[in-house]
Symmetry: C2
Subunit: 221 residues, 2 copies
């Protein structure tokens, strides 16, 4: 039986990576449709894709006829609509709030500043040279991880993963942000808890199978 779930994804998009992890953790089969963000002016701007996603951003999820946008909203939807064994949000409201706050600290305060369209603006409009764009990335990722490290290290409910001993929405966000940090040459040495949780995640097949290099649209060789 074919799955009703279709994911529009790009191999290096952190936001798509989050949703791929969630789908895998929940054991949900899906059809992958790739959107090449860097070919020409980007397939995300084609009229057909804009109809699905007026922001021209990946990911977009289809569940049958229904269209879902924004990675965190998609993951919460999957968790609510597809119950299953694995829950990505904890059962208690105050723990859910903590998981969401970690996810949002990454999704609002770290990731958007390194979005491709932002770097393009810095380059084209402000003529910011590449070395300065790299420093910009390192600044926002570094200061974000500094706060996240404190949040994780000081809180008693941090376990093998961000919240207790099972992966949640927070881990779905942490791992792609670590990939991005590595890509931009951010020194992760000062963030031992972040590194430990990242390693625990990457020991799981659900995370490895969602990784950029494991995607069919990743460059080969």
């Amino acid at each position: 039986m074919s799955s009703p779930l279709v994911l529009y994804s790009y191999w290096r998009s952190s936001a798509a990576f989050r949703v791929r992890i969630a789908l895998n953790l929940k054991g949900l089969a899906y059809e992958l449709r790739t959107v090449n963000l860097v070919a020409g002016e980007g397939e995300q701007h084609h009229a057909d894709y804009r109809r699905l996603n007026p922001q021209g951003l990946v990911p977009t999820l289809l569940d049958g006829e229904r269209v879902f946008r924004q990675s965190l909203a998609i993951i919460e939807y999957l968790d609510e609509a597809y119950d299953g064994e694995t829950k990505l949000l904890p059962p208690v409201a105050r723990d859910r709030a903590r998981v969401r706050a970690i996810a949002l600290g990454i999704a609002c305060d770290m990731h958007p500043l390194g979005n491709q369209r932002v770097l393009k603006y810095l380059d084209r409009e402000f003529a910011v040279p590449e070395v300065e764009r790299q420093r910009w990335m390192q600044h926002w990722i570094g200061s974000g991880f500094e706060a996240l490290e404190t949040t994780l290290a000081e809180h008693p409910s941090t376990g093998s993963f961000c919240e207790a001993d099972r992966p949640t929405l927070a881990d779905c966000c942490l791992v792609p942000q670590v990939f991005s940090a590595q890509r931009w040459g951010v020194d992760l040495a000062p963030f031992p808890t972040v590194r430990r949780i990242h390693a625990a995640c990457m020991a799981l097949e659900a995370f490895r199978r969602a990784a950029p290099d494991a995607q069919p649209d990743a460059p080969r060789g």
Copy 2:
């Protein structure tokens, strides 16, 4: 009886404004503690506040001893923990996903690029002149509202408010973003649905009482 809820807020912070709206819509009393983001290097960086909020961002909510961070996570928590008559998230999963996607489109893809710390970086590190910083703001707010206008105008479940005929989390985000747009001189004429919903919200006392100018820490006169 005194409320267990304490909100750390700054009058002009969009993120704090969202939570003030939510508290008012739910009819929850709270103690307001102001954090001056612009005095000196900013009270948000004081050690005492950093202990509550390692990111050094407002808002922070206390519920008794418990600390909550990130405006969207705080609003979802209030909606779950304080049931009451007014629900800020709709009862059906696919509608909740739509409300969250609208909120996240603002909170992730518009607001963070205009955060004070980002504008400060553009000024101090890249020496971007004020007129260019204003163009930066107008670009991100304008393109964000363009996508939001399409999303709202085309969807059958848009009503008097973003989702049907009662304010939700999405409206808690839309209104502060319109305030920010006005502050930065963004032309809102091309966004009639955004303007219509903003007007419907501002007809409600819960929104008016949460507005920047109505705050005790707003400059007088």
